[in-house]
Amino acid sequence: MTQLLVQDLTQQFAGLTALQRVNLTVETGGYGAGRVVGLIGPNGAGKTTLINCISGLSRPSAGRILLDGQPLQNLPPHRINALGIARTYQNIRLFRDMTVLGNVLVGQHRAGRASLLEALFYLPRHRREKHAFWQNGLALLERFGLAGVAGARADSLPYGDQRRLEMARALATGPQLLLLDEPTAGMNAVETASAGEQILRAKAAGLAVLLVEHDMVLVGQVCDEVYVLNFGQVIAHGSPDEVKADPRVVEAYLGKADLASTATAGGT
């Protein structure tokens, strides 16, 4: 069971309050049941800031972030990853000069135990580890439909494939919680559907997923519950359908509706 608790999280940047007392929970059920929690909101609502706080890229001004009871808010990114949180980025951060396989090999960095000396002299543990990393890496690429381009440079891939590779690389670190920051941005409908399948697959494997997403159809398909952020505050929380029907959410996206005049306009 994995439990991420965000408690009263506040993030201020020189006079701008990006997050204000945000409370959020991502919790998987018992018996290996995964969970997908959506995080939506208009541009500038603070979604990426929240992901950055959880993954250690920015240090919150106040509040707590707990993973299974352990506070995360003062740990550097690599320690947070070691505790089982992996993420992708809105603007893709692949290792461009490396091969596709190289990227998922780096993802398994932390699983390695062989020292530099063992690698220098090609000792058995290094060989075993390398073999296992390659096997895992190729299996992961297979799952994401990237095995055919394992030897290609990462930056030679089309955009959608780069996004998929970034998700594969995040999974290669063996996380319990996956933070996905707009994984379908710039994707066409077919690519979006396949990204949705991968998210459900991660859920089926028992992972907790926090998904920042603009595509409401996808959110409706994959999310068990949704948080809505606006101007750094949680304005709604519930099932995708509940949230979509919430007048505060509609207002946040479309502006305050002048119901009387709309009704009149509709009537004439």
Binding site: N81, Y89, R96, R110, A114, L116, T173
Partner: protein, 330 residues
Amino acid sequence: MVAVTLVAGLRGDRRVFWSVLNAIGLRESVVQFMLVNALLALSIYLTLHSGMFSLANAGFMSIGAYVGVIATQHFGLPLGSALALGMLVAAAISLPLGAPVLRLSDIYLAIATIGFGEIVRIFWLNFDGLATSLVGHSVTLTGGALGIKGIPTSTKTWHLLLALAVAGYFMARLNDSRLGRAMSAIRQDEIGAASVGINPVYVKLVVFVLSAMLAAAGGVFSSHLTRIISPGDFSFSRVVNILSYAVLGGTATWVGPIVGGLLLTALPEVARPLQQYNQIFTGSVLLLVIVYLPGGIVDPRLWARLRDRLAGKQSNDDEAAAARQEVRGR
């Protein structure tokens, strides 16, 4: 000619080997400096390959040189022990230096490490005076601005070949190790590397120490070739030279810096017949390489393009160029 030299070298025919090299101006002493500079180029390659623009190499080279010479001349140690000692001292200094300085990046790291080089240079310059006032009687160890004279030339060519072979093997295996992959990852995207569990601070520090040890090894060897060392030998221009070997050769692979170090050291000697135009020639070569081969001479992408062209294939770059041409034509 290159073939004759290689064949002679492989057959162990040393007379033919050296006579060919001598004919183009490469006496054994020049070859020795070529090998030393290849080692120094590898030391800066390590940091560049990990995305660190560190220019501390001349400083660590001078630490190797002074520690090595003091070890052999004042304490009568053999060259091998002096080498180990020089590398150890450099490692011991690079560790506390790297911990704060490697928080900087890009040009700020360059400036801080240039500062370190100057501090070390001035330290050797004033060492005797400082030691005298501390100990209470006259100390003459580094000889101030005049330096240390009369150092025996105990570095042999085979020492250097062995050292370069060991360093080359190390670099080749590094690419296959977790550390090597983490280095590349940090160079390409430090934040991305941190979020897959790599500790960038730790990896950079390890690489900085390794680079310092390699530079110190170069310093120990070179100080036992030059007969004389003085603080002025390790000024800013030294690290610029080391950097230019890596840039000329290319930093995409570890072969590049070796080639760059060998070539750029040999060039002024080969071009000696040009007399006063010698420096202009060397400078022009460097300039042309930077302008036309920005990835250096040993650039895998360049070679791949050449291979494709020879095989009659059009690479992506060519297609892109053709497309641009077409757009321009319209």
